[in-house]
């Protein structure tokens, strides 16, 4: 195991200064997520326009560097995408974290892929996977307009 793989500079940087942090003025969708094991919390604000495009995506919450950075990077990558594309990106990310070596998303360019792969170090730290996926599950919940709070204990 290698701490440098987990705490890459980009992670530390996003963890310290998360992008798109705070409640945005206008949003159409919203969801809350919670990791009861450690107390990480996140709230997602999503603004879909009439063309079903992600016009804005912000978050609030508190948590470890991994969960903050992962959510921050997520907002960067998903903003501007269509709802369809956003859903695919979320699935591709979760697939990468759990199963595969690479990110296979067609919705992302090479730079974006490199960025998302900075989160792959978490695969060696199974207890931290839930930190990395909390924001993504919560976005998914917001897009699906689910009422319940996301609870990481509900995922394998």
């Amino acid at each position: 195991m290698d701490l440098k793989q987990l705490y890459q500079d980009i992670i530390l940087e996003h963890g310290k200064s998360p992008r798109n942090f705070g409640k945005c003025e206008k949003y159409t969708h919203e969801a809350k997520g919670h990791n009861p094991l450690c107390g990480d919390k996140v709230q997602i604000f999503l603004n879909l326009n009439k063309e079903k495009k992600v016009e804005n995506l912000t978050f609030e919450g508190s948590g470890c560097a991994i969960s903050m950075a992962s959510t921050s990077i997520m907002t960067e990558l998903v903003k501007g995408k269509s709802l369809e594309a956003a859903k695919k990106i979320v699935l591709d990310f979760l697939d990468m974290i759990k199963n595969t070596q690479e990110i296979k998303s067609e919705e992302l360019d090479e730079d974006q892929k490199t960025k998302i792969m900075s989160l792959s170090g978490v695969k060696q730290y199974p207890m931290r996977v839930k930190c990395a996926t909390l924001g993504w599950h919560t976005l998914s919940s917001a897009m699906l307009e689910k009422k319940e709070e996301v609870n990481t204990e509900a995922f394998d």
Partner: protein, 406 residues
Amino acid sequence: MHIDEVKSQFPIFSKKINGKQLVYLDSSNSAQKPTSVIKSLDNFYKNEFSNIGRSIHSLSVNATNKFEETRMSVKKFINASSKDEIIFTKNATEAINLVATTFGQKHIEKGDEILITELEHHSNYIPWHYLRKNKGAVIKFAPINDDGDILIDKFKELITSKTKIIALTHLSNVTGTIVPIKEIIEIAKKKNIPVLVDGCQSAPHLKIDVKDLDCDFYAISCHKIYGPTGVGVLYAKKEWLESLPPYIGGGGMISEVKKDKVTYAPLPEKYEAGTMPTAEVVAFNESIKFMQSIGIENIIKHENELTSYALEKMKKINSVNIVGNPKNKAGVISFTIKGIHPHDISTIVDEEGVAIRAGHHCCQILHERLNLPASARASIGIYNTKEDIDILCKAIENCRKVFDIK
């Protein structure tokens, strides 16, 4: 694994009891443990111990993974649909109490009926008795015949529009009756009544498939399946576990805790409060592997042969009376000897190294039904042999000698 090699897996059989080879015929009470289970405990405590779930250091991650592996093994062992349907309890009794309490809280009102049978172990009666006492429920006992078989027609008649739940054993721990549980569940399902199956005696000796049975709840006792003490399993359909209120409250089963509000964790954690029997659950995985290494078909075949052999031999002994004569019988053989009280039998055969149980075996209702103050019980495990039965029969003969009974 060949059936002849099984006994050598159990270290206790190298022990002498009263100078005699141990003949253990009390497996319905609790089974002996194979080396792999004992080693797993030893290894876990020596090299890997940590509490699970709550910490994220390496020891805890490893322990949590092993704990969850057992859950997956149990899921497969009984063919559940999801690992979330497998709740670890301290024993089967707690599993049944969990259902009675939470189901009772939500679904039982004064006058509602709970249908159980005359075969039930106290652990599948007292939890329901509490609902009678505290909520005014009515308990009906489905009758059996003298053979120890449930009278299905009477059973059907006892189901009314007020019947809220049916709870019954899969295998009697006194008569060895294998209850036609699937048939009964089908009857219940037609009327939309949930069914709890007490699987304590069946899980070690029959093939269990909760999906095929379509039961709502299934309670298991790990120490009877060659596993450690301190662990039981409740299987319950997910929709029940999701909709019923929580049971024991405390650390690990919550989501958000405020001074005025509490929300609960998702399944299975919702029903697993406080520190779990971590090492014991981890070791229980070895019990399942042990069962699988022999194969349930081989287990059934071996135990059926032994049961037939024992019944035939015992029936030939004068003044021995076998309790019950059910259509399908597993290796639970209760008996009496005219003129000798079961306690005296137990003490005398113990002198020959034979461990059997005497008393009412937590089934006072059944003993009353059969007009017996008590009985002696020889119950068979996978490690028993024909030689064991021969020694038992000789020891029974000795009882007659001591009491000078012809």
